[in-house]
């Protein structure tokens, strides 16, 4: 008997994923800037969904305050650019700085449980928003532009931003994937399924949660950086809006909580809905709400959770298979 990690399906799929990243990298060379801008938005959604899933799906940490990091990443970019750091370098610095703020935040946020944690994170996001509103140098309540990006010709700017988005999405999804595949991975899935049972067999739940919290904060900060790079203008009312959390919850629940593949599907679905209802407005929100309600009732495991359950399909090699054992006994 031996233990296998890769299956034929997962080899093909992971290979396909690598190929599609290469193809995506060529997007700015082929398409118009506004298509590139839309696809940048899709990559931001994928990144956000994956990070919310890392928190909620594996750590059991339901946060409605991840917009704190989105907003801090976005405003940190403007802050460092205004200090004279070249804009794309400012984006990298902002990601690291805003992400690192999660370490001190985790010290008290992770002491909160369940709903208290969810609301506590929301409060942190609101506090960060208020701090920005008080700072005239950051445009206070009216918002601020990342004017330093105007030095680039629009086509190039959009291409650079897209590549940055692709790079961030690959880095953070790869980090989550490697984490799930590492020896820590099974303990994260165990926490997802039953935190107390995991504790009873020796899993250090608190340190695993901190790891996920910090990873998700860095990922959301990166997404915030991309938001300001993609839209060039931010205001505290939108970048710190709880609507980001609503989007993240939507994508993860519809796609499949606690699966690696599901949130990516959820992001594509949300992107498609946003593209269909371009006017926004009440019907768009009604549509989102109705879709979420239908999924919660009919497919509580989400799209991918249902596929995984019904077909036993696992595209990403994060699992383990024992080969060479005798055939399965009949159910008893």
């Amino acid at each position: 008997m031996k233990v296998e990690r890769w299956t034929r399906t997962s080899r093909v799929f992971t290979g396909g994923l690598a190929v599609s990243v290469v193809i995506l990298a060529a997007v700015p060379l082929i398409f118009d800037p506004d298509v590139v801008q839309k696809l940048t938005t899709l990559l931001i959604l994928v990144l956000l969904a994956a990070m919310w899933n890392a928190l909620a799906g594996y750590g059991g940490l339901l946060s409605v305050g991840q917009q704190a990091f989105i907003g801090m990443g976005a405003y940190a970019t403007v802050f460092f650019a205004n200090l004279g750091v070249p804009p794309y370098a400012a984006m990298l610095v902002a990601t690291v700085v805003a992400g690192a703020i999660s370490v001190p935040i985790s010290l008290f946020a992770l002491r909160l449980r369940a709903a208290q944690f969810a609301i506590g994170m929301w409060v942190i996001a609101e506090v960060a928003s208020i701090v920005v509103r008080l700072d005239q140098n950051l445009g206070a309540g009216t918002g601020i532009s990342l004017i330093q990006l105007n030095q680039y010709e629009p086509n190039f700017r959009q291409a650079y931003t897209f590549w940055l988005a692709l790079g961030f999405a690959v880095i953070f999804l790869a980090a989550l994937f490697l984490l799930l595949r590492s020896p820590l991975g099974v303990s994260l899935q165990a926490i997802r399924d039953d935190e107390d049972a995991a504790r009873s067999i020796g899993v250090r739940v608190a340190s695993r949660k901190r790891l996920l919290f910090v990873l998700a904060a860095f990922g959301c900060s990166a997404a915030g950086v991309l938001v300001v790079a993609n839209t060039l203008f931010i205001e505290p009312g939108s970048v710190f809006s709880v609507q980001w959390s609503a989007y993240m919850i939507f994508m993860v629940l519809v796609g499949g909580l606690g699966t690696f593949e599901g949130p990516i599907l959820g992001a594509i679905l949300l992107f498609a809905i946003q593209a269909t209802f371009t006017q926004g407005g009440p019907w768009y929100l009604v549509g989102l709400g109705a879709t979420a309600a239908v999924f919660a009732l009919a497919l509580p495991r989400g799209l991918w959770g249902t596929v995984e359950e019904r077909l036993g399909l696992r595209l990403m090699p994060v699992g383990y298979r024992v080969v060479g054992a005798k055939r399965e006994e009949t159910d008893g």
């Binding site: 008997m1 031996k2 099974v186 303990s187 067999i201 899993v203 383990y320 024992v322 054992a325 399965e328």
Partner: protein, 241 residues
């Protein structure tokens, strides 16, 4: 007698007005299996939860190899060598049987990679779960889930094993296999504490028997003498069964 591996002294636990544990002293020794019997609500599972660290006692101390571990949580106690099973099995439903066991094998910080896999395969073999290794745990039946509880606890390589009703609902052949498994664990030097309602199965393994009622130990000693004590018979017959 050599020093106890795990010793509880004066353990008390109240849930509201109800004293579920009312001053319990218990010592477990390497290579000795201790059985606990008693009517429902006697405090058996609560005692196990306190020993395993998933419930903090209101009073009393717990020592593991002479060290005070009263303040340590469940994860730290497991890493020290105290593993338990749950009365109502709690499998990680989204993971396969092998992955369930692998969590325990790797969580102690002692084994990883091939070494951990080998340990898991050995444990699955010992608990007759090998043919189910790739099944998602949510598809297991109750008896298979109970075997998985035992497998997970064993993969933690414990020196103290706390078992909570793993023998219920077994056929004669299955109980016999369970008796052999637990006896061999005991003979390997593991200190075993086994809560079980099926007394005749329990008596084939344990060298000491404890009877609890209303949060207290009302009799303890050699199994035969405990079973024959009038107080024990009263506790059982008085339980309304």
């Amino acid at each position: 007698m050599e020093a106890a591996v795990l010793a509880a002294a004066g353990v008390r636990k109240r849930f509201g007005a109800l004293a579920v544990l009312d001053g319990v002293d218990l010592a477990l020794h390497a290579g000795v299996a201790v059985g606990i019997v008693g009517p429902n609500g006697a405090g058996k599972t609560t005692l196990l939860n306190v020993l395993a660290g998933s419930l903090a006692p209101d009073a009393g101390t717990l020592e593991f190899r002479g060290r005070d571990v009263t303040a340590k949580g469940a994860a730290e106690r497991c890493r020290l060598g105290i593993a338990r099973t749950h009365q109502v099995p709690r499998p990680f439903t989204g993971m396969t049987v092998f992955e369930n066991v692998l969590v325990a094998a790797t969580a102690q910080g002692r084994r990883r990679g091939g070494e951990a896999y080998d340990l898991c395969l050995r444990v699955l073999d010992e608990t007759a779960l090998t043919p189910l290794a790739n099944r998602r745990a949510e598809s297991l039946g109750l008896l298979q889930r109970k075997r998985l509880e035992l497998a997970r606890a064993l993969a933690a390589e414990p020196s103290v094993l706390l078992l909570d009703e793993i023998g219920g609902g077994l056929t004669d052949a299955e109980s016999e296999a369970l008796v052999i498994t637990i006896s061999s664990l005991r003979d390997r030097g593991i200190a075993v504490l086994w809560i079980e309602h099926i007394v005749h199965v329990l008596l084939q393994v344990v060298g000491r028997l404890v009877c609890m009622d209303a949060g207290r130990i009302i009799a303890e000693g050699l199994p035969e003498s405990v079973v024959s004590q009038a107080a024990v018979i009263d506790a059982y017959l008085g339980s309304g069964r």
